[in-house]
């Protein structure tokens, strides 16, 4: 079962084009949506919310097409955007009153318990909150109406590790207590290593990777060794290659294949999601070197 499905989706915004032929977000899991700045993460989320008009294709959310079904769909969606869109001069209690009106499943008890947990004063104005508290409040508003789908657009951006951890804990706690799907867009990949089930990587408007997190981290392999070993036909096996003055480093999709190619001559390690993202962002077999960072890439 899928919470969100994309079919032949295209959207052009100026010079940028989002092109997603097929993408399906599994229901009941947390899917991390990663990509560098300007990759198309926010555009994708705004298309799901029908904030932007599709040029081509269709998107279904919880089994309904977003065109025509957006009102009932939005009842089931909790959204934390960047910016959040809350009025700065308004007390938290008034913001809650403004928005709770619209949700049939608004849970005042849950709202109060989250406010207490995060130690937020509802009489305070939104502008008087710290950056972390603003995100916490946005998260509370997104969770307090028992949504089935939670869309988070960089919810932990600009936050210190302690607050980020608190927000992730509340999300994971919510997932344990409710049947909920989380679609979490971020460029802070360490958050997903802790909590994510699936990873979708977008680059320049296209989906480059869509995989289970555990598969990614357990089967992908980082290989480090002398430059001489990273030449020739074996380059076509690399998802990415980096060179520096000490040697070369390559990312391969399969540990077994890596071992077959290099044997004991190199060092193997488990890549982090961040490292996978960095290697993929430079396309297949493109080399990133110290010289390249100063200007121009060299093909393997």
């Amino acid at each position: 079962m899928y919470a969100v499905t994309f079919n032949n989706v295209r959207k052009r915004l100026g010079d940028f084009e989002l092109n997603i032929p097929k993408l399906a977000i599994r229901q009941g899991y947390m899917t991390g949506f990663i990509g560098e700045n300007g990759a198309g993460k926010t555009t994708t989320i705004k298309l799901i919310l029908d904030m932007l008009q599709l040029d081509e294709g269709s998107i279904e959310v919880l089994g309904k097409n977003i065109k025509g079904g957006s009102v009932s769909i939005h009842q089931e969606i909790g959204y934390v955007g960047e910016p959040t869109g809350y009025p700065e001069e308004t007390p938290l209690e008034a913001i809650k009153d403004m928005l709770a009106l619209f949700y049939k499943n608004w849970d005042e008890v849950l709202y109060k318990s989250y406010m207490q947990f995060f130690n937020l004063n509802s009489k305070q104005k939104y502008k008087d909150l710290s950056t972390g508290q603003k995100k916490q409040f946005a998260m509370i508003m997104a969770l307090s109406h028992h949504p089935k789908l939670i869309l988070l657009d960089e919810p932990t951006s600009g936050l210190d590790p302690v607050v980020r951890n608190e927000i992730l804990d509340i999300l994971m706690d919510h997932m344990q207590n409710e049947e909920v799907t989380i679609f979490y867009s971020t460029h802070i990949t360490s958050d997903l290593e802790k909590a994510g089930d699936y990873i979708v990587y977008i680059n320049d408007g296209q989906i480059k990777l869509n995989s289970e997190k555990d598969t990614l981290l357990n089967e992908y392999s980082l290989v480090k060794g002398p430059k001489a070993l990273f030449k020739g036909d074996i380059c076509k096996e690399f998802l990415g290659l980096r060179e520096n003055s000490f040697g070369s480093e390559a990312l391969l999709k399969n540990k077994k294949v890596a071992y077959e190619l290099f044997g004991e001559e190199v060092k193997y390690s488990k890549p982090t999601i961040e490292e996978i993202m960095i290697f993929l962002s430079h396309n297949n077999s493109k080399v990133v070197t110290e010289k390249a960072l100063r200007g121009g890439n060299k093909q393997c």
Binding site: T84, G85, P87, D97
Partner: protein
């Protein structure tokens, strides 16, 4: 649909009450004070109130990027647009009633009570409110509050220039024509024209809202 529009109106009222009390204060003061000036000042009130509760509210929403939040709520674009038309009109009608009460008090105090004049003024004010809001709402919704400020300022400057350029003789002729036409039937027709324009304006804004992208 009506339920969603009512919720949007309630939301706007909570927002105004909690964060934009100055709008209510200014509208009330003008509605109470202007009737004690000359007739022309009275006719400015629906324009001012319309400006405050249309442009003012939309400008705040744009400043805080509230439209992005609004879009994530379970309301359709049709309802969002309708609330933009009903809300400010309601506030304008309330300020009109306050103004009429103030004008009645003045007439009684000055022993110059004239029921027909009162009714005609009420109809004129309602007509002006409808026509003014019908004109500015699509402009604000299309251009956004910041850009439409320049469009509206340009319109006001042009109006003031035209008024300033008109000779006093022409101005007196115009006033005479207005006095002659100041009948209940004519004013009622003006209200009807206002209602039709309001409907056309809503249709245009619906089209703008349907195509709008909340970037």
């Amino acid at each position: 649909m009506l339920e969603s529009v009512i919720k949007l109106l309630k939301k706007d009222w909570i927002f105004i009450k909690s964060s934009l009390k100055n709008l209510i204060f200014v509208a009330l003061i003008f509605s109470l004070v202007m009737p004690w000036g000359n007739g022309g000042m009275l006719l400015v009130v629906p324009i001012l109130v319309g400006y405050l509760f249309n442009y003012g509210l939309l400008a705040y929403e744009e400043k805080y990027k509230m439209d992005v939040l609004l879009c994530s709520l379970p309301v359709g674009r049709k309802e969002m647009c309708l609330a933009k038309y009903i809300g400010p009109l309601l506030y304008t009608l309330i300020s009109t009633l306050v103004m009429m009460v103030s004008l009645t008090v003045r007439m009684v105090v000055q022993s110059s009570w004239n029921g027909e004049v009162l009714v005609n003024l009420l109809l004129t004010v309602i007509a002006i409110a409808l026509i003014y809001n019908a004109v500015i709402l699509p402009i604000i919704l299309y251009f956004g509050a910041i850009k439409s400020r320049w469009v509206m300022m340009g319109g006001y400057v042009l109006a003031f220039i035209l008024m300033g350029m008109s000779s006093s003789e022409y101005s007196q002729q115009l006033q005479a024509i207005i006095r002659q036409g100041f009948h209940t039937k004519i004013m009622s027709s003006l209200v009807l024209i206002g209602v039709v324009l309001y409907g056309i304006s809503y249709g245009m804004s619906r089209g703008i809202y349907n195509r709008k992208e909340f970037k």
